[in-house]
Amino acid sequence: MSADAHDHEIWRERAAVYALDALTGDERREFETHLQSCVECAAELQTLRPAVGALSQSVPQLDPRPELRDRVMSAALGETRATAVTSPPAKAIRVEKAKSPLRWLPVAAMLLLAVGLGVYANGLRGRVARLETELDDARSQSALLQARVERDESTLASTQGQLASAQGQLAVVTAPDARRVALAGQKGAPGASGLANWSPTRGLALSVSNLPQLLAMRDYQVWLLTKDKPVSAGLLPRDAVDGRTVVFMAPGGVEPIGVALSEEPEGGVPQPGDRIYLVGLMARAQ
């Protein structure tokens, strides 16, 4: 209040910049301190508020898409409101309405209090908005990380699958009771060949090559030949027709003397038909 006219002109300029929220942080704090002791600047600020508010309405008015209304409603009404329902409407600080055109000139103390509260509330709102923005950013980051983790887990699972398969093959091949079987192409697939290792405890490891193109609705089925009758070891995966080693579990109680492969209706059959493409008999046990 005791500042000279020149000084006050500087404060008035700051009031205008402050009203637009365009002061730097230090200047803003300095001005807010000044506001607490200067009714003139507080009043000046209040006269500028309508002009600032007007800027928000001077933009071209656009109709939002009708869907936005539903989106807003479901976002708002879909969530539970923690406190508002039980809290009574806030009793605002009552300010008498002035009838003079100078509606902004209330009791000085009340004005200062209102400005002070407004400043404080503005600060809080700004902080809340910033925190919410940071929270949003953190959520995005979290979603990205989650996606990356899922991708890595998927890669890991795939790698683990390959590893398990390799270990299965190795287990069969290196089993003390493993017996090696060379499979030869038969009529209908003379160029085909295969190599199997059989272990009664660890199963059958089989790789094949040069089989005929498999037709739709058909499967290759692998058989363990016994003295009695062929026992199915399982279907050859469709992506394993050329070189990849596949491990089949050892059926219980089977003592094979050979291995065969036939083409069968999709899903396999209890006993092989006549399209037998590979047959091999076992070498003697070591």
């Binding site: 008035r12 300029e13 700051r14 205008a16 910049v17 009203a19 637009l20 929220d21 365009a22 002061l23 730097t24 209040q46 006269t47 500028l48 508020r49 309508p50 002009a51 600032v52 508010g53 007007a54 800027l55 928000s56 309405q57 001077s58 933009v59 071209p60 008015q61 656009l62 109709d63 939002p64 898409r65 936005l68 209304r69 409603m73 708002a76 969530e79 409101r81 508002a84 329902v85 809290s87 009574p88 409407p89 806030a90 605002a92 009552r94 300010v95 309405k97 509606r103 902004w104 004005l111 209102a114 509260l117 407004g118 509330a121 709102r125 700004g126 908005a129 919410e132 923005t133 950013d137």
Partner: protein
């Protein structure tokens, strides 16, 4: 002299959990909130996010609305402005998206063609007052309000001394205030919550 604002009754109903009241509030002011967000962010999806945030917040905080701080629409627009500027700053902080947000352009850019442009008399009067300002005053005001720049940043952008920018901002605001005073207060400030 001034009727109690219907908006305040809407807020009271919202505070009591009345969802229809929120619909009424949206129907009254959703367009203004959306338009301001589009002006600042120049992006329809971003502006829609802001509208959602503002009205969800209004729903949550209806009971805490303080009429001494201004009108309901003023409250909503202040939230919209603050959130839009925050988003604009966050976008500028990410270099790959910064270009389109760096420079102010004519106000109608960035809006898809299917959005109908509607002007109300009130908005037109305010806009005309702004348009009549000398270009430096107008630009300084727009950079501060719609771009969220500090007066220091405005001075750099306009290549003007700091003191000049502050003076222009004040002159512009005063002229805008005077122009509005001649035809009545803007609706934003009108519903009897003056201090």
């Amino acid at each position: 002299m001034v009727e109690p604002a219907p908006e305040r009754r809407i807020l009271e109903r919202m505070a009591a959990g009345d969802g229809d009241a929120l619909r009424e509030l949206y129907d009254l002011h959703g367009r203004a909130v959306y338009s301001l967000a589009v002006r600042i962010l120049r992006s329809q999806p971003d502006a829609e996010d802001i509208v959602q945030e503002v009205f969800v917040q209004a729903w949550r905080q209806a009971a805490r609305y303080d009429a001494t701080r201004g009108t309901v629409v003023g409250w909503l627009l202040m939230q919209a402005k603050s959130r839009s500027i925050d988003r604009l700053r966050a976008r500028k902080a990410r270099p790959e998206q910064a270009d389109d947000a760096q420079r102010p352009e004519p106000v109608d850019t960035g809006v898809s063609a299917d959005v109908q442009v509607v002007r109300v008399e009130q908005a037109q009067r305010v806009k005309e007052a702004l348009e009549r300002l000398p270009v430096l005053q107008k630009t300084a005001l727009e950079l501060a309000y719609y771009e969220g720049l500090t007066h220091v940043e405005i001075a750099e952008q306009l290549e003007q001394p700091l003191g000049t920018v502050k003076t222009r901002i004040r002159q512009g605001l005063l002229k805008l205030r005077d122009a509005l005073g001649g035809t009545g207060m803007p609706d934003v400030m009108r519903d009897g919550t003056s201090k």
